[in-house]
Symmetry: D2
Subunit: 344 residues, 4 copies
């Protein structure tokens, strides 16, 4: 007999890399019943036929459900949809009184105008922006608990913000950051692109969207919220020829003399109770392989004293802590479950 | 009948990645006769037996030659040896009146004391340091032409210095740089290491030697020479899961208002006559795949005006422009050949 | 309060790729309490310090425990040790009345002489061979349930035997097979080897141990057991530049006219009740990515009618169904748990 | 002053992987003047703008030339075009009295009907089929010298036929072969495909077109020509997550007792004078990395005496000996140049 207290969940966009990872993780979640899966498909098909990796693991028909159907069958709906599509789906679910964890960028910025500048599209539901909560539990845990619409952060923002926060927060913190970030290929989502063909990416490496990445406003907005005043962020993303994982290297000018060990102590205190943040010992730095398939963000810290610069390196799995895992962490919070359930 | 004017060359350390690449490139060089190949080997063996990739391509026996033998048979000897080994081999060759292109770090720094601090070993031949020339032809072409001992730069310094020079040179240039660099695995040389096992490197990415890399003194010394005063460099190397290629992303504070196109123009002027430097058009950034197996260094330029920061990205093949190709460029110069011979 | 009925388990050799995978999987297993972890280590250390991927996931000290200590603390001990080491550890555990799942080759062959020929070492405990059970649940489920020493199959034998069995079994089955197998790098275990350096493996591909692989006796022994008479197997392993996964392509002469769909039907019937075998639809063939991080073995089937040859392709994750996952499947059986527990 | 005896060549389809490789190799060729480059492009552009890897290496405008223009400017035209496109371009060039090396499959089969069955398209110029020569110099050297239209073999056929020939040729040779082949991704040509996206190919491995590959007729036709009677070939291609390189493993039943060393001797004799075939010593097998960026085909040989089976492994670079390098070898032959010119 199935646990009657299980929470019914659905995923819209289960065919993308993030949707697939959500499904993989939710299958292990002890308090979840997966009820509805939606994907673009010509006709309804068993999940295991559409996505052979899931054959014999889940017995459910996947089809192109409208949000009204998702709302009817689920307590919580995960939207693993591209930017600009999520905002077309969210209203019927919220109006039915159900909760949403949205993995797109559509509800992350507080001002519709900023969204429109960054994504070059009119925002369809600015009325939801003031109540949506930015889903970084390490900073906004209580708000998330009381929310009905969580805007799950992007993978770059998660890595950069977690690495930056202890240096930025409060009155005398840093107000200028450089973040040099490197992401695996699934960070770009599942799309058919000449640039992402195997022979174009493999054995290569490049910077892209230099000086113009659409996630900078999202990061600067949260940094401002943490700092209480504007913070400038220079951000350069790079493409690493790996499937998953993301590493960010931050450079911060130090106004005071601070040893690496003192800075590590400050980070340890800041993240003392966090289940998914691991501050590494002095002289040890994150490697993507240590966080793959986990919800951890690892942070390593160095100080170049002669050049008065702190170097903060963070790493996470872009599909877990940078997307699906963090979405489940948010889901746990807004469902009143243990925050780490299904994630350790 | 063979061209009697060909220059006789030898390679010590032909078994390493750099030595193999030198051999590959020299086989195409129209003015070179390869006379002596030396490698650690239990007994003399045909090159094609020791290194199967060269079977049927060169008919020469490779053995563990002492430098005296190399000096006898060659006009120019390439030392593709690890740091600290080169300086044990160089004296007999120079004393025999032959020329040396040394690919190790042993003769790059002008002060023996700095070498000893960086490499933790006593320098055996400080008397050669004042006459050795740093083999970056873009900056020291004339000196190289008149030299007998060229210290070929490391791959990281080549990428960083070429990207930085136009912003650093002269009176009002930058005096503080951040260089975030990413290298393929052959940059570490051919050695058996647990850290470099396939399953440890593949699908991962990491920073290493954060704040303590031994190439920083080499870079700061040349930057100082270019600038006429001290320049500080924050440098973080990272390991990319690819065989070859290196990309460096530099961040430089801009004291004046400068558009990307103006900065690109400045770089184009600076490198106008250089055969191996390619300044990319605005909005285009280097990719490692575009420089693989070539002696080019590609440079892309962006300005983040709001944050007053120039972002300079350079890419090269660490085994070619970062090692063997540059060594041949230096060899061409000190042999009175055309600088690009065998390299285009 | 912890479930008092949980089974106490330990792992010897937790530092290898297989040991790490076992630990990862056992952390998710609802009926397991991990009590003892043993690895070669200079001194006892928390697991999360020795293996940073496990920091904050398990709170246990790992040390170089002798088997007597493992026996005392555990109901079942997994031996994730290299060939020839396992047989040095197993006796004290069995004598203490505890059960063993051995992932090495030491107890797979029934005859000590065959073992000694294949592994070039004297067998130290031939007395255990007659009672050890070959841990391929699809063929030996009942024996495993009643066993105290399960010899977990190698990854190559699992993929080859599962693909071959329906064609080999019984009176008129095939008696000659060709298996061309391709494995990721972790199949070789965690060892420091010049051949397995990243730059030696990446962007390459090779056959190895052609005609002489030590797993052939293991496979021919089980094939003989299935067939009731000798079966000859030509086996060639290849190294794929990926971390994990294994694919085998079998070629079998067909004595009778048989369409692909008829052969697929035969396989479906053969494996009808198996939870971890997925027979793919006609025209679809296995891909390693579909089985990664799962305990499934996918099998695709084609018939080349003109050339009277069946082509059977199987794929699995060498660390899961080819090692740790299958070990847990065996553990579930010999512990009286549900066979799929912790594995779906 | 340029060598007046240089041969003028052009490439149609220079934007594909094969076209790019041809250009790279021809730039090194001492007897070639590259006159015309054609690619699909909206408007004429310098090669270095269209293909940044060639910036500063060649100064030529590339445009979508019709074959008539190519014919006017060139002595020899390389067609690096997809199957079915080549036959639309070839006539004007041949009619102008110029020579063609065609890298597509359009002129490889002798019977238009076989072509139409394999490629599902009507053949537009069956009249050229009887005079076209299959461009495998090791078998058809003299015919190629006298030809005007060379049909350059595919990469799979080159590897399989070179490995098979010594066992197949003549009266008592093998008449049944199994070839299990593995290719890097560029073997599929440059096309935008969901299946060839980085994250779909990387860390995976699969068989494809099992039992139905369109190159089987080409291989069986040449095998028949070598054997003097029909030969059956079971062929399975696989996709390796690497950019370039191809390895084929052949299984051949041995009717007579033959040791590995005797078989190796037979192969050495067969290929004694071939500049690009390397028969490896006993116990050594090909690795893709040893042939990358070269025109060699390496062959390793083993005999499984107990199972009366020869195992022949061949490796080559699919873009060189499997395409562009072999095309230049053919070009050298039909131009009266040294066969290895520009290739060693």
């Amino acid at each position: 007999m199935e646990n009657p207290k299980k929470i019914s969940v659905g995923i819209m966009g289960v065919g993308g890399y993030t949707g697939q990872e959500l499904l993989r993780l939710l299958l292990h979640h002890p308090s979840v019943r997966i009820c509805c899966l939606s994907a673009r498909a010509e006709k309804p098909k068993p999940v295991g036929e559409l996505f052979p990796a899931f054959a014999k693991r889940i017995d459910l028909v996947c089809e192109d459900h409208p949000p009204e159907v998702m709302a009817k069958g689920c307590d919580v709906v995960f939207l693993a949809l591209p930017h600009t599509i999520s905002m077309q789906r969210v209203a019927p679910i919220l109006k039915a009184g159900k909760k949403v964890v949205d993995l797109s960028a559509d509800f992350r910025l507080k001002e519709a105008g900023e969204y429109e500048a960054a994504y070059q599209t009119k925002h369809l539901h600015p009325e939801f922006l003031k109540d949506s909560v930015y889903g970084l539990p390490e900073f906004y845990r209580e708000k998330i608990r009381n929310s009905t619409l969580v805007a799950n952060p992007g993978c770059y923002p998660t890595a950069v913000l977690l690495a930056a926060a202890p240096l930025v927060k409060g009155g005398r913190g840093a107000r200028f950051l450089i973040a040099d970030a490197k992401s695996g290929v699934t960070g770009a989502g599942r799309k058919i692109s000449g640039d992402l063909q195997f022979a174009e990416v493999n054995e290569s490496f490049k910077a892209y969207k230099v000086g113009v990445h659409q996630h900078v406003p999202e990061m600067e907005e949260i940094l401002k919220d943490l700092a209480g005043e504007s913070v400038l962020l220079v951000f350069t993303p790079h493409l690493v020829p790996i499937n998953r994982g993301l590493l960010a290297t931050l450079y911060v000018n130090l106004s005071e003399n601070l040893s690496a060990s003192a800075l590590i102590a400050k980070y340890r205190t800041f993240y003392e109770k966090e289940p998914f943040i691991r501050i590494l010992p002095e002289g040890v730095f994150p490697e993507i392989k240590q966080v793959l398939y986990t919800n951890f963000c690892d942070i390593g810290i160095q100080v170049d004293a002669k050049r008065k610069t702190a170097i903060i390196v963070s790493a996470l799995d872009n599909l877990v802590k940078g997307a699906a895992g963090q979405a489940i962490q948010n889901f746990n919070l807004l469902s009143g479950l243990g925050e780490t359930e299904g994630l350790l």
